[in-house]
Amino acid sequence: MDKTITLEVFRYLPDQENQPRFQSYAVPYREDWVVLDALNYIKDYLDGTLSFRWSCRMGVCGSCGMMVNGDPKLTCAAFLKDYYPNPIRVEPLTNFPVIRDLVINFDDFLHKLKEIKAWLIPKEEKPVSTGEYLQTPAQLAQYKQYSMCINCMLCYAACPVYGLEPKFLGPAAIALGQRYNLDSRDGAKDQRADFISSSEGIWECTFIGECTRVCPKHVDPAGAIQQAKVINTQEWWLSFLMPWGKRGTHAK
């Protein structure tokens, strides 16, 4: 018989059960398969009722994030061979409510992205006829790392602070706030300051660093948050020493 590997999958069917349970499935073991392939095999051949999100299968869309043996992972990048012959436990991302099986409700994250204004707001709107908003490679380097975020929310699942205090703005939203604050074309730092500098923003972070450890795109949200703390502190001191100056107007 061909080799198999067992997947212990978190099941929650709200229309039938009040409590979640784990269901085991034996799937064919192939060296080039990832956990997402195994889940798709279950869905196609063993149990069509299993629900989970996925799309690109290549670490770009950020929709297949799940807990794999207790660690937040993109299931399209978690190879079966790294766990074989032991069973693999697959759960929905922690710190989020579960809608069904492996599907979470991430409305809170989307709301926070909106609060932080995670998009480019130019210093001054220019007509298209005047051309592009130009930027040097050195200016791009300032924020490029943070622009790699794919909104997969593994960092939220890894962050104990978010688990204990759901009001916390969270790693990805702050990293994306920094991404635009550090962009030379952006002019909305003051608009983001109320959220980034609040007690539910950067100052809630205790620098555990799990967000950075689990980030599949090496965004380093923990670094972004600490840098925001340094910048915020500098601006607070500047506004304290030079209250008439412009630089410290958004320091909290």
Partner: protein, 123 residues
């Protein structure tokens, strides 16, 4: 119909989940020894005008035992924070980011220099 969502409780033992979280908790707990040593230094300084009381306080068995216990915790605290400094201090040389090793290394270098200077002054 609004679906019934399941919210998983956060266990009180969350910090036992993996080695990284355990090391984080140890780093946090070592701050108690840093704070304790700071209080000890304040007590010492309060005897600054009386050399005999100062040295007696510094060299009494309880103080020596406390310092021996506090030392590894304070060193662990300092080393873990120094290793994290490149996260907070990001410098660019044009398009190139200054290596995190240089940032952390500078802190270790300054630590060594200041310790040496204090040693020279004391001896």
């Amino acid at each position: 119909m609004q679906s019934k969502e399941y919210v998983r409780p956060m266990p009180a033992t969350w910090w036992l989940h993996n080695i990284h979280l355990k090391l984080f908790m140890i780093r946090e707990l070592t701050s108690l020894f840093v704070a304790g040593y700071a209080v000890f230094l304040l007590v010492l300084i309060s005897h600054g005008d009386d050399l005999k009381t100062f040295t007696d306080t510094l060299l009494c068995p309880t103080a020596i035992i406390f310092q021996l216990i506090a030392l590894p915790f304070v060193v662990f605290h300092s080393v873990t924070w120094f290793n994290l400094t490149p996260k907070a201090i990001v410098l660019f040389r044009g398009e190139e980011r200054v290596s995190p090793r240089v940032i952390a290394g500078t802190h270790y270098f300054l630590w060594a220099v200041i310790s040496l200077l204090i040693l020279i002054v004391v001896l």
